[in-house]
């Protein structure tokens, strides 16, 4: 079975401070990992992905994520939060096996950046 867990429903951070949104995963084999962001009344937007290679992945809007195989985590990070980063963030996983086409999403973490 494959799944992702986002242990925090809500994360609050002051503007300019670093932010972390947590994600842990459970898959058979090596995972493909993704982060998406959802703004109100807009579709999910792709931020970044990890397939293989460097454990630190850089993505859109200054976000990055660190893949940690031993801790089965893929936490989303940004060095300096902006008010405009306030949104709903989803971690997702696709197992590395032929025929597994779908993404498994976490329940989401609402990030609020306080001015």
């Amino acid at each position: 079975a494959q799944s992702v867990a986002q242990p925090e429903d809500q994360v609050n951070v002051a503007e300019g401070n670093p932010l972390t949104v947590k994600c842990t995963y459970s898959v058979s084999g090596n995972p493909y990992l993704f982060w998406y962001v959802q703004y109100p009344n807009r579709g999910l937007q792709f931020l970044l992905k990890y397939i293989t290679g460097d454990n630190l992945v850089k993505g859109s809007y200054g976000f990055e994520a660190e893949f940690n195989k031993s801790q089965t985590s893929f936490h989303l990070k940004k060095p300096s939060a902006l008010v405009s980063d306030s949104a709903l963030y989803f971690c997702a996983v696709r197992p590395l096996q032929t025929g597994a086409n779908n993404l498994f999403f976490g329940t989401g973490t609402r990030l609020t950046v306080i001015p």
Partner: protein, 119 residues
Amino acid sequence: GAGVSQSPRYKVAKRGQDVALRCDPISGHVSLFWYQQALGQGPEFLTYFQNEAQLDKSGLPSDRFFAERPEGSVSTLKIQRTQQEDSAVYLCASSLANFDSLWSMPPQYFGPGTRLTVT
């Protein structure tokens, strides 16, 4: 360029009615996905097309749900005899390449969704 579009954006149906939800993917995108997002939850996979072929429908919750993509572009998700538990946002996503490729993981581009409310 234009993104994934979905229509209608909002749909209210009385229990027992049939509904049809439309998805226009990004032009040239081979893969198309439907997801269901209940309130406060992450999207859950329903079905997947590669061109006109429906390769995976394992996520469809019942035989009341039916999806098609007859010409390999526009897709329709149909729900027959709607029930209150069908109330959710239905998301469509498209992707450029063959999703089975192990080393090309093109991102899925999502539409804004159709919010279905069954009363």
